[in-house]
């Protein structure tokens, strides 16, 4: 018992983040809506902050008091287990209070608008809203209408910034760098927010990105985002240092653009045979949940190249970093506003 207490105390007193490293570039955003608007320096700041938190969650006692007294709401308009749980664990590791709201249990069903829901949540004195929504741009709209920090946990086909950040964090942890890496993203690029956020993040950090999908699932002009485009999965794998395999979201196929499941596996599935043409140490990533036998074979998902479960662990560190940074920026903005107000008087 006393040992435990000692450990806890040590944790509480330990600076969870190397403050000096943060001063190089300041994080000033109250929200994290996407990776498109972030600079390379901001991306690097999140990654280095996440490194510190990874150390925290590797300790015996994984909790730090950083966000004690803060409240985080997970507002999820789409079913999600992975992302919601990851945010919940991250917030709890930072000692924040966490409330989960999902479409099934809220007044959303009664026709309340997103803005009204957001303002009501804010009236409960919530500090951070983590939002998942089926419409692109919903997180940005919410952020414009509330003072609380908004973290985008996936909006439509637009962005899923924390997923891309944890993918990039994992890449960097395993391969030591991002600059110059060849990363291929295989799957339904057209409807994937994960793909878009990864493209923004990876290209800003100097990686070479290739996207690979059946022609109907490649969105128009995507090459103008600075990526190579192919529908030949073997070509996509050949030079790749890592492949990020996207889930085929067959439930979203409203335009009959999707090939049949077996046909997809035959032409695009990541299998042991296909990996024979790739670099020996290629990293295989997947944002989950996995459809075994559709976009990836079980042998690969569970094989030596797979870092899929490590991604899940890293997701906690990355989300802790994001929660920490937006909360810090929010506090600074608020105190600035207070000082300005005082001067007026």
């Amino acid at each position: 018992m006393s040992l435990l207490k000692e450990e806890l105390e040590r944790n509480l007193n330990k600076p969870e983040v190397d403050k000096a490293s943060l001063r190089k570039v300041a994080w000033v955003r109250k929200d994290l809506l996407g990776l498109q608007e972030l600079s390379r320096e901001e991306l690097e700041l999140i990654l280095s902050t996440a490194e510190s938190f990874k150390e925290v969650i590797s300790r015996e006692i994984k909790k730090v008091p950083t966000l004690r007294g803060k409240t985080v709401v997970n507002l999820f308009y789409e079913p999600s287990t992975r992302t919601r749980t990851s945010f919940e664990v991250a917030a709890k590791r930072l000692s924040a209070d966490v409330i989960n709201i999902s479409t099934d249990s809220s007044s959303v069903r009664k026709g309340e608008t997103l803005i009204d829901t957001g303002k009501n949540i804010e009236a409960l004195k919530v500090d951070i809203i983590v939002v998942r929504h089926n419409y692109s741009g919903a997180a940005a709209m919410l952020a414009r209408n509330v003072h609380a920090s908004v973290i985008n946990a996936g909006d439509g086909w637009h962005e899923h910034p924390t997923q891309a950040l944890l993918d990039i964090f994992t890449l960097k942890e395993k391969l030591g760098r991002i600059e110059g890496l060849n990363v291929s993203i295989v799957g339904d690029i057209a409807h994937s927010r994960v793909a878009r956020s990864n493209i923004w993040g990876l290209t800003k950090l100097g990686a070479h990105v290739t996207v690979c999908a059946p022609p109907l699932l490649i969105p128009v002009s995507i090459e103008e985002m600075g990526v190579k485009v192919t529908s030949d999965v073997e070509a996509a794998l050949k030079e790749a240092d890592a492949v990020n395999v996207l889930r085929m979201q067959f439930e979203r196929d409203t335009e009959n653009a999707f090939p049949r499941q077996l046909e997809y596996f035959k032409n695009f599935g990541i299998t042991v045979d296909r990996l024979k043409h790739a670099k020996k140490n290629i990293l295989v990533m997947h944002p989950g949940p996995i459809n075994r036998g559709i976009e990836i074979s079980s042998e690969v998902a569970d094989g030596p190249n797979s870092v899929i479960l490590e991604q899940v662990t890293n997701g906690i560190a990355v989300r802790m970093a994001v929660l920490f940074l937006v909360a810090q920026a929010h506090d600074q903005l608020r105190s600035k506003a207070r000082t300005r107000g005082a001067k007026k008087i």
């Binding site: 498109q36 608008t113 997103l114 803005i115 929504h133 419409y135 692109s136 741009g137 919903a138 940005a140 709209m141 909006d155 439509g156 086909w157 637009h158 962005e159 927010r193 878009r196 969105p219 128009v220 002009s221 995507i222 103008e224 985002m225 409203t254 335009e255």
Partner: protein, 425 residues
């Protein structure tokens, strides 16, 4: 009652005016336009350093009455028009119910007589209920005063029905305004299909949905000999087709709206629903092509496509928000800022696009300063800058694409039917 407008720079190519002159208004008509008029007057308006031009004719306005009086009414819409320097509007017939019969026209005429603050010209749907199936009674509607037919908001999908409508319109000497859009290609699209729709993760609307239908409508007009007007042209492919048809002698005119020649899809990065309209904002290349087409006369008119919507219909997720933006109160200032200030058009050309040409296309005796014409006149301070805010609108809605923008050029006086009806000093 005599009003003398003194020392303004009078611009009206339809009368050949382009000089500092005086205008005398007598009994609600323009009685003299000359230099240095010395007649007695009841009211003097000093227009020194101001531009004096005909009241604008906006041939694409959704007044929403009857049916959606929460968005706009004939009264509020025409008040907004006067603030923007527009003294004549063509009311679009996609109301609830649609204006598609003599009875509906009569009802709307009554509302107009009682409540309008400016000239409201009426259009009728091409097909009953705007369903694209049965052509309306064109002759009867013409006799009731309807000046054009349009299913605006929808295209007549059936080529056969469109052809029939065009033949009947030709025989009745009636204009058909084409909302050229192939909805089967639009699907659930919300912005222009391209790099921006890909980046934003929004469903795209391909340009083909517009220009393939423009092409069909032009071919049908050419084959039947009917006169058509293409509404809200937004892309360069449509411009090329219209130019080609004009060169061949097809009876076609065309309009675009200020948002199309000012904005492009790159402005959508913040998911602003006040930039959501149909057709959508296209690429910056299309925007440049529209400007050049205005200069070169391929596009004949500027019209606002004034489409009021309530905040409840706009302040929601981008996918769910209504299409359309208001424009009556900003169209002149935006055109001055974007076309005159950039020296793309001169004042005469602007007056043609916003007054002379639309009146001519509709066959109405408006949009001119000819002696004997109705005294619908506006006085514009071309130097005055102002910022567009939600509070500045007389319209019941404030879904403007230009909120927050600083524009150059302000209507300082609107004279409608020989009376000063709006003043901004």
């Amino acid at each position: 009652m005599k009003i003398l407008i003194k020392n303004g720079f009078v611009v009206d190519p339809s009368s050949g005016f382009n000089d500092v002159m005086d205008i005398l208004i007598e009994n609600s008509l323009i009685s003299r336009v000359e230099k240095n008029i010395q007649d007695a007057f009841d009211t003097l308006i000093d227009a020194t350093d101001k531009i004096v031009m005909p009241g604008l004719v906006d041939m694409h306005v959704h007044l929403r009455e009857p049916g959606r009086e929460d968005k706009e009414t004939v009264s509020s819409g025409t008040k907004a028009a006067l603030r923007g320097g527009v003294t004549s509007v063509l009311a679009m017939p996609n109301t609830t119910p649609a204006i598609d019969s003599v009875e509906q026209v009569k009802l709307l005429k009554k509302i107009v007589q009682k409540t309008a603050h400016a000239n409201v010209f009426l259009s009728s749907a091409i097909t009953k209920g705007r369903m694209g199936q049965e052509v309306v009674d064109i002759v009867a509607l013409k006799n009731e005063g309807v000046v054009a037919l349009t299913d605006d908001g929808d295209s007549v999908d059936s080529t056969e029905v469109m052809r029939e409508a065009l033949m009947k319109a030709r025989d009745a000497n009636m204009l058909i305004i084409c909302h050229s859009e192939d909805r089967s290609l639009v699907k659930n699209g919300v912005i222009n299909l391209g790099l921006i729709s890909t980046q934003l993760g929004l469903r795209g609307i391909p340009k083909e949905s517009e220009y393939k239908r423009v092409e069909r409508d032009l071919q049908l007009a050419s084959a039947t000999g009917a006169a058509i007007h293409i509404a809200h042209v937004s892309c360069c492919e449509s411009i090329a087709l219209i130019a080609e048809a004009k060169a061949k002698g097809t009876r076609v005119t065309a309009e675009t709206a200020p948002h199309y020649f000012t904005l492009c899809d790159e402005d959508l990065m913040g998911y602003d629903t006040n930039l959501k309209m149909n057709p959508p904002l296209r690429t910056c290349k299309d925007r440049e092509a529209l400007r050049v087409a205005l200069r070169d006369g391929i596009l004949d008119a500027i019209a606002s496509d004034h489409a009021p919507h309530t905040e409840n219909e706009k302040e929601i997720e981008f996918d769910r928000a209504e299409f359309g933006v208001i424009g009556l109160e900003t169209e002149l200032a935006v055109s001055i800022t974007e076309l005159i200030e950039t020296r793309l058009l001169d004042w005469s050309a602007l007056v043609q696009k916003m007054a002379n040409n639309p009146a001519k296309i509709l066959g109405i005796l408006k949009g001119t300063l000819k002696v004997g014409a109705d005294a619908d006149i506006i006085i514009v301070d071309s130097k005055r800058e102002w910022t567009v805010t939600k509070e500045c609108f007389a319209s019941m809605s404030n879904n403007s694409s230009f909120l927050g923008r600083t524009l150059k050029g302000k209507v300082v006086c609107t004279i409608y039917g020989g009376k000063v009806v709006f003043k901004n000093t």
